[in-house]
């Protein structure tokens, strides 16, 4: 599903990713763990196509296709979804208006028929109910005045509606209390499917108790330093990231 090879990325002339290689198969949930400031968010932005990130070397392939030359909206239409660490507030744009615009823009790009409002409303209502998203939230401007937990639930709601092939969750657990974490994790687990892959970026092992990963990758110094199974997360929880940071100093 996702193949990243020897990826080097600079931001403002400073190299952040230094030869990152990662492979995630369809149906797989891959957790990326690592200390702060190691380029985890940079990785999520580069995959989704944010401007200002210069890829100096390497490639990112989605189902065999190099996506680095595509616009963010084109990548989204091909199934890339980023659940933001800090979802943006958009005053003046009703959440429902936004959901319709996003869903139909992707359908148009794929040559599918646009969804009509009643059909859309039904899908949104169904998804909203399981994620504890109130009707009031759907009427309000997107993310405007939402609490941290509400914003994260709204991200998962969007993911449920857009049905991506590759979902990247960037520190989705940050700022969530245990109840909100469970709601979010249930939402993610409900979307696990053989033709869908997840990249779950997190600093803590806690989230992985709720979203069980198939593989765990330690990221430090702009690279994947070590890969393993779920047991690697427990080891990190016990021993911390010190040894990976120490390598850098050496």
């Amino acid at each position: 599903m996702l193949e990243i090879k020897d990826l080097h990325v600079s931001v403002g002339g400073r190299e952040i990713l230094k030869g990152l290689t990662l492979s995630v198969k369809a149906g797989e949930v891959a957790a990326i763990m690592g200390p702060n400031g190691t380029g985890k968010s940079t990785l999520s932005y580069v995959i989704s196509g944010r401007e200002g990130y210069d890829v100096t070397q390497g490639e990112v392939r989605l189902n065999g296709e190099n996506i680095l030359d595509l616009e963010p909206s084109e990548r989204a239409a091909k199934g890339v979804f980023l659940a933001f660490q800090y979802p943006v507030e958009i005053p003046g744009v009703a959440t429902m208006t936004f959901l319709k615009a996003a869903l139909n823009a992707q359908r148009r790009a794929r040559g599918e028929a646009e969804l009509q409002t009643p059909d859309l409303m039904k899908r949104v209502k169904d998804a909203a109910a399981s994620l504890d998203v109130s009707q009031d939230m759907l009427r309000r401007p997107l993310n405007a005045g939402f609490s941290g937990g509400e914003k994260k639930r709204m991200e998962i709601l969007q993911m449920a509606l857009l049905q991506p092939r590759l979902a990247i969750l960037d520190e989705t657990d940050s700022g969530l209390d245990i109840d909100a974490l469970r709601v979010v994790a249930d939402g993610v687990n409900a979307l696990r499917a053989p033709d869908r892959a997840f990249v779950v970026i997190t600093h803590y092992q806690r989230l992985l108790e709720y979203i069980r990963p198939d593989s765990v990758h330690v990221m430090a110094q702009g690279r994947i330093m070590r890969s393993g199974g779920p047991e690697l997360a427990l080891e990190l929880e016990a021993r911390g990231y010190q040894e990976y940071i120490a390598q850098e100093a050496a």
């Binding site: 989704s48 196509g49 944010r50 401007e51 616009e71 963010p72 909206s73 990548r75 989204a76 239409a77 890339v80 979804f81 980023l82 933001f84 979802p87 943006v88 958009i90 005053p91 003046g92 744009v93 208006t97 936004f98 615009a101 996003a102 869903l103 823009a105 992707q106 790009a109 401007p141 969007q158 857009l162």
Partner: protein, 429 residues
């Protein structure tokens, strides 16, 4: 200098033509006031961003009365009163459909008959007295409509005051509408200022609103049309008695120069005013909104929320002044003006002002000017919206913030549609 003398001598000939058309004393006083100021240049503070002395250096001929039959398209389901090329047109208006309690006549007739309460309502010197262009309007007013709504009248539909020009050749118009609401009357008003032709026009219009105790007006103003170098000055004078409310929104689009000026006086306790607006600037549009909200009595509230969206080489200006008179305690005021610049060549001038002479008040203002937010654009793009569509959604949201207080669904849909049309032209080029 020769040009300026030319402008003022042409205007003087207009005054000679109009001075005998009713209300001679009112016109004479207004002409004297105008003559003292002359056309305002940038040196006049309230006209700092719109130099009328240069723009109006060659006044176009005064519009001649036309009674040509015409079919006007309808944009919404309102009761329409039409003033066309400077003349009130009962034949084009929905007079027969007006409910009992609504009295209509032309301003020309009311002035010719010297109706005392009309003259009093028009001549009240408490608001806008310092403005030379409003004085010019009073000196030269050709026609317009007088609407009186008696207490207890219920009006199901909006009343539209349409002031339009249709001439094929250059012309000037000076029109004035007067709307007097009895105590407790509630009405939706739509003020449409536009052109049916692409001819060069100089239009100076005024709407005088007098709200008796507890009356309420929901007002939508739409300024559109215009060609390069055309000029439109539209003034709103609102006088609110105790407990009266005005809730207004204005959309400015089109080409040429548009200046909207508001003079409001909250002259009774618990009066409440909202003046919101949005400007859609493209090409060389010059759009100036200048307002003075004058709190004269205690416990009043005022809100202003303006959004300028400026593309190409368009220029926006917002000058907002809130005055709180001595004794107008517990006044609650908040003014906000935000501009979105969509091109390197677009310009915005923002000038909020507070003049507070009472000590127990709550008044604030904020003004910002910026570009589309890259974080928001990326967020929308990452959800599948191509760049131009993402921009359009953000611009729409930006304009919506000023429309949120509009209660009439139909009028809101009409305005949203105008914004969409403007945006679709941006996406397609």
């Amino acid at each position: 200098m020769i040009k300026l003398a030319e402008a003022e001598s042409t205007l003087s000939s207009f005054y000679e033509e109009m001075r005998d058309q009713g209300a001679p004393r009112l016109r004479a006083a207004a002409w004297a006031a105008f003559s003292e100021f002359g056309l305002p240049s940038r040196r006049v503070e309230s006209w700092h961003y719109t130099d009328l002395k240069i723009a109006l250096s060659r006044p176009a001929p005064l519009a001649a009365a036309s009674h040509a039959a015409l079919s006007l398209p309808r944009a919404h389901d309102s009761l329409r009163l039409v003033t066309l090329d400077g003349v009130f047109r009962p034949d084009l208006s929905d007079i027969a459909r007006l409910p009992d309690g609504v009295a209509i006549r032309s301003l020309r007739d009311a002035l010719a008959q010297g109706e005392p309460h009309v003259l009093t309502a028009l001549a009240s010197a408490d608001i806008g007295a310092q403005d030379p262009v409003l004085a010019l309007n009073a000196a030269l007013m050709q026609d317009g409509v007088v609407v009186e709504i008696a207490s207890g009248t219920r009006i199901g539909r909006a009343i539209e005051l349409a002031t339009l020009s249709s001439a094929e050749a250059a012309q000037s118009t000076y029109t004035r509408a007067l709307v007097m609401l009895g105590a407790g009357v509630q009405v939706n008003l739509v003020e449409t200022l536009g052109a049916l032709s692409a001819a060069f026009a100089q239009d100076n219009s005024a709407l005088v609103l007098r709200l008796a105790k507890n009356a309420r007006v929901d007002l939508v103003t739409h300024l559109s049309g215009g060609v390069e170098h055309s000029i439109r000055v539209a003034s709103l004078l609102a006088h609110l008695d105790a407990g009266a409310t005005i809730n207004s929104f204005a959309l400015i689009e089109g080409e040429g120069l548009h200046r909207r000026q508001i003079f409001a006086r909250l002259d009774g306790e618990m009066a409440s005013a909202r003046f919101n607006g949005a400007t859609l600037g493209r090409g060389r549009l010059h759009a100036d909104t200048t307002l003075v909200v004058d709190h004269a009595k205690p416990n009043g509230a005022s809100r202003e929320c303006f959004r300028h969206i400026l593309d190409d080489q368009s220029v926006g200006a917002f000058q907002g002044k809130v005055i709180v008179r001595p004794g107008a305690q517990k006044t609650d005021g908040a003014m906000q003006s935000k501009a979105l610049l969509l091109s390197e060549q677009a310009t915005m001038n923002n000038k909020p002002e507070l003049e507070i002479f009472a000590d127990d008040v709550q008044c604030g203002h904020g003004a910002t000017c910026g570009r589309l937010d890259e974080d928001q654009l990326f967020y929308l793009s990452a959800r599948g919206l191509p760049r131009r569509e993402a921009e359009a959604l953000l611009i729409e949201g930006f304009a919506n913030e000023a429309m949120e207080a509009l209660e009439d669904e139909q009028l809101r849909a009409y305005l949203s549609d105008r914004v969409s049309v403007w945006l679709s032209r941006r996406i397609s080029r």
